[in-house]
Symmetry: C2
Subunit: 341 residues, 2 copies
Amino acid sequence: MAKRVSIKEVAQEAGVSIATVSYVINNKTEQSISKETRERVYKAVDKLNYVPNLSARILANNKSNLVGVVIPQTEPNKEFMFSNPFYSEFLSSFEYTARKKGYHVLISGTNPDENYIEVAKKRNLDGIIVLGTYPKDTLEELKNSGIPTVIIDSYVESYHFNTVETDDCYGGYLATKYLLEKGHRKIAIVTGSFTEKGVNQERLRGYKDALLEYGITVNNKYICSGTVDFDFGLEIAKTITELKDEITAVFCTADIIAMGLMNGLYKAGVKVPEELSIIGFDNTFTSKITVPALTTVDQNIALKGERAAKMIIGIIEEKLKGKQEYIIPIEVVERESVREV
Amino acid sequence: MAKRVSIKEVAQEAGVSIATVSYVINNKTEQSISKETRERVYKAVDKLNYVPNLSARILANNKSNLVGVVIPQTEPNKEFMFSNPFYSEFLSSFEYTARKKGYHVLISGTNPDENYIEVAKKRNLDGIIVLGTYPKDTLEELKNSGIPTVIIDSYVESYHFNTVETDDCYGGYLATKYLLEKGHRKIAIVTGSFTEKGVNQERLRGYKDALLEYGITVNNKYICSGTVDFDFGLEIAKTITELKDEITAVFCTADIIAMGLMNGLYKAGVKVPEELSIIGFDNTFTSKITVPALTTVDQNIALKGERAAKMIIGIIEEKLKGKQEYIIPIEVVERESVREV
DNA sequence: TTGAAAGCGCTAACAG
DNA sequence: CTGTTAGCGCTTTCAA
């Protein structure tokens, strides 16, 4: 590797002190530098192809311009975190926004044994984004570490933490209401497991709210809970098929479940939406792809990534003070999987 | 933020010198340390909750245990790089493998204006993974920077660079041959644009090879080239529908195109696979989801990520010398979109 | 087996 | 307006 040039060599080349070089390259306004000197430094930087060594800078400044994103192992025993398209869409938009603001992004799945705070300290992370649900203790510890943190999509005592969230309850309400407005009255819900205060529970709450608003009593037989994946959707198709003569619509609290369900229904010969209407949640890009295309609740993941980036950077740079909260707007995207009855 | 404890405080607590602490926490074998001292240090580390500051370490060692992954803006004007599920699957597996080996991963889209070598130098990256196709100059420059680099899926003068690749030509051959074995003789190919020496060109080559092997002359009318996305597949459905009485099968060089095509065909009332067989390429997780499920060529993306990580780390640690190359094995995954004729 | 001290590249307080 | 220098936390040579 070609020997890296340091500030010292730049100083030499420009015939100034290293302090001066530092002032110039950092555009320190509190230091006036003669135009001439400034130019000499620039020229030397160019000529020598100087690139500052951030490690040294971090050491001196205690500021890394690095933010870490922690992504859960979505499936235990599965090493892979963001096979779920949600994560990649989020990350994509997050990284882009952060980069534009001069921050780099360190990603990390979670090692069960490794405490993320350790990573954060080691790498002098300026801030941390936490995706997904974690035990409250872990989050509390994070908070106590004093490192700016933004939690995404976690309902764990939100009043404590900076958060970017979707209004899942409202989303569940919207989805269900949409079906109701289309004339459906017997509506099943297929959802993930109800970890305490999780996303699924909120969406279920919205579902109930909407039914109540229409004076419909909630029928527990219509509530199917399992895991958030394709296979569960596939599997539950059997149950739904049996319910087919009673119900006219299904609200799946995740697109991926809806896909599995639609697939299973297809195999069982149940036509969507002719015989059964389906609405999803997430609007991952795959929902356009199904046949029929899936009507779903859009939570604007890209916006989520962008807001998360702006929030954490705002906090880091102390432009944002106190607890921060942002709720991502939500809306139904009409496609082809719901019919009017 | 709670004041961080440094090696100095640990030394004080343990009643030894900072050098000794350094030896102990780094497990330096070339330094013998009495068991007793070692224990005292460990105790102090625990008590004070000491976490080493990697920035200082990097500065002293010139070794960051950080590797950068450069991801292209797949679509110009689109900020988002890895909406394409390929990237997330790759990254997921890459990060996991790297983490297990003690490396962290810095991700970055590419700023048109910002030269990635600069990022690499700034952050003292130990190695770089480049995804996708770049101008040869850029890669050459990277090479000259002396930073270990592994290029994924680029055909740019591969003999120069360390690479992890899929044998796209062979994949194209396999896909086509599969159709031929199922009795198809008139086979169209729908593919992306032919940038010089890109993936698509290779897959096309395989397609031609297979036809030739069966003594079939290539019909240019059957070669449809556009962009690698859902919409192109949708669009090309029209052309394919017109060809329907001549051809019996289509090879799409990307799953996402196949999805669009299937969607378009569905709308046009063309039945897959009864009237037309379709085979894809990639085996992204979405290919299970379609109706009918897509028969496709699997390139084992997770393995790709794993091998890339092992390769770059091997090179960094000088366990791997000279040009490295790994070709990901490939196979056809049979599902439901191809029928026997 | 241990410790003192130089040095990694940079920032910033201070002096001039 | 510019330069000197201490110090950020750590590794490593060399001496003890």
